[in-house]
Symmetry: C2
Subunit: 318 residues, 2 copies
């Protein structure tokens, strides 16, 4: 309190406030999907300007400049890469398409290594009967018999088999395959991995340093088994990322883009963040929001909201 | 084969075909939500004309005529009532609203008894922070503290407590409270019961004849634990209803109305129906579809499609 009210030493509280703010945001990471229209360089600058310490990057923005240049861009802003999004889409029954998918995943593993992140997020893909995300279903075979393209059990087994194929390659490159359970709303078209417990079962045969899981509030907030599975994930050392955004209603016309800023919807961030903390997670908190209206906002406003909501709804429970 | 080709006895194969068709549809039930614009009398007539044996009725259509008259309408068409939809909406933290909800559920129990159905479907309700289905969220309390209206764990506990309050009354009336897990997409606004396993955990303290569960393919098809939980539900004698309709994409603007005819979407009816059969379920198969376009169809066309899809996709596995 010394010097309060004098012109010169008033600088000290300001510096302290800035320091405090940086400490508050020390674990907050901007996922580039939240600022969809920014290049990697623009997103990294926005994150650094807002006082964040990390960035989660999508492959499209990395590939625009190449992984080595992307690594430099992020390092120049003094940021960590909290994760690379995303590998996966491994569910096709077609051998040629499967080989291409595996090759693309090996490329993603090398990109993650070059970027210096340990965590490669994996969205595993949907049912073969679903030709594209959100599209209508392929008809049943003519005789009305059971359709292998709608067989969830077999599709999930292919995911297990292909994770097994990729795991040694990921381990060699010091990269972890991070299975992301997606909300069951996306089970047909995007990910046949729908719960944290299922992701942990898939990860179980592998070293925790090679196959992990992400806890994304949007996808798992509703799960009656969540507390137990978060604790299990922590005990196994598999929580690779904590991603936050909110479940808002009504759903957008494109449900993928229905996510909201933390605090705008129904997710109980106090409780879930507490479970993640109690599970021993000490890594970054990545904000990944798909939302047309947020994408239309100026980046500095988006970043300011991210920071404010983090301090208000997540940090006190972290 | 005797008499084949003669005019008089050609009637026999036609009669046999009609008999065969009636046998095929012996367990098929029309839920009145599928023919939303029909009165109960119209829906019962349409179901009987199409050769069905049962009807699942919604309370709005029952209350238009009263439960006693509704029972007569259904009996006059030679149909069973497979279930009454629906009780529930038990999640409010407000004592006065809770008392009103319990009273309404007691009324529903009496309606079910009057209708002669043992099965009262219960949609338990959403989070208090969600003022109405599909609506936006109530804001957090001003201080940014944890919000009890977003506390899923506490909300689910209230459901358990209120089921316990209703169970003796249901038992007295020979009616079973049938917990319906709704798709996690509806966890905020309609039902904090999201999986079959969770519904069975809630039912566990009660006699299987007093609290049961419904397996509705639309809500549970994605669940990686489904096979195990269906088997458990069967072993416990708690499967009160098997409801079918399909998960179609893209979702409708009002996601509640996104359901499709069996065979139009992604659900693996062969596998799930086989699990329900193996669990020992021998009751009705109720078709409950919320879909604006199907509601606009003539009822005879809707019923013909129901019958055709049942024979093609469900019956062979039942």
């Amino acid at each position: 309190m010394t010097g309060a009210g004098t012109g010169t030493v008033a600088v000290a509280p300001v510096a302290q406030a800035a320091e405090g703010r940086r400490a508050d945001l020390a674990r907050l990471s901007l996922n580039t999907a939240t600022t969809k229209h920014l290049t990697l360089a623009e997103a990294a600058a926005a994150a650094a300007d807002a006082g964040l310490s990390a960035i989660g990057v999508w492959r499209d923005r990395v590939q625009e400049v190449g992984a080595e240049q992307a690594a430099r861009i992020v390092a120049d802003q003094g940021l960590r890469v909290s994760s690379l999004c995303r590998g996966g889409f491994l569910t096709t029954p077609d051998p040629q398409a499967a080989a291409a998918a595996l090759e693309d995943n090996r490329f993603a593993i090398r990109e993650a290594a070059t970027l210096g992140t340990h965590e490669l997020i994996m969205v595993v893909g949907g049912l073969p009967a679903c030709p594209a995300p959100g599209a209508g279903a392929r008809p049943y075979p003519g005789d009305g018999a059971a359709d292998p393209a709608r067989d969830l059990v077999a599709t999930r087994q292919r995911v297990a088999d292909r994770i097994a194929e990729l795991a040694p390659y990921a381990a060699e490159h010091g990269v972890r395959l991070v299975l992301e359970p997606l909300h069951p709303m996306f089970a047909a078209d995007r990910a046949v991995v729908s719960t944290l417990g299922q992701a942990l079962d898939l990860a179980a045969p592998f070293d925790a340093d090679v196959v992990g899981v992400v806890v994304d509030t949007y996808h798992v907030w509703w799960d009656p088994d969540l507390q137990r599975q978060v604790a299990r994930a922590g005990a196994e050392g598999r929580i690779a990322s904590y991603q936050v955004c909110d479940w808002v209603l009504p759903l957008a016309a494109e449900p993928l883009n229905s996510r909201g800023h933390v605090g705008d919807g129904y997710v109980d961030f106090a409780t879930i963040t507490g479970w993640v903390r109690d599970a021993g997670y000490a890594g970054d908190v990545e904000v990944e929001i798909f939302n047309e209206s947020i994408w239309a906002d100026p980046a500095d406003r988006t970043l300011a909201t991210l920071a404010e909501r983090h301090v208000r709804h997540v940090l006190p429970h972290l």
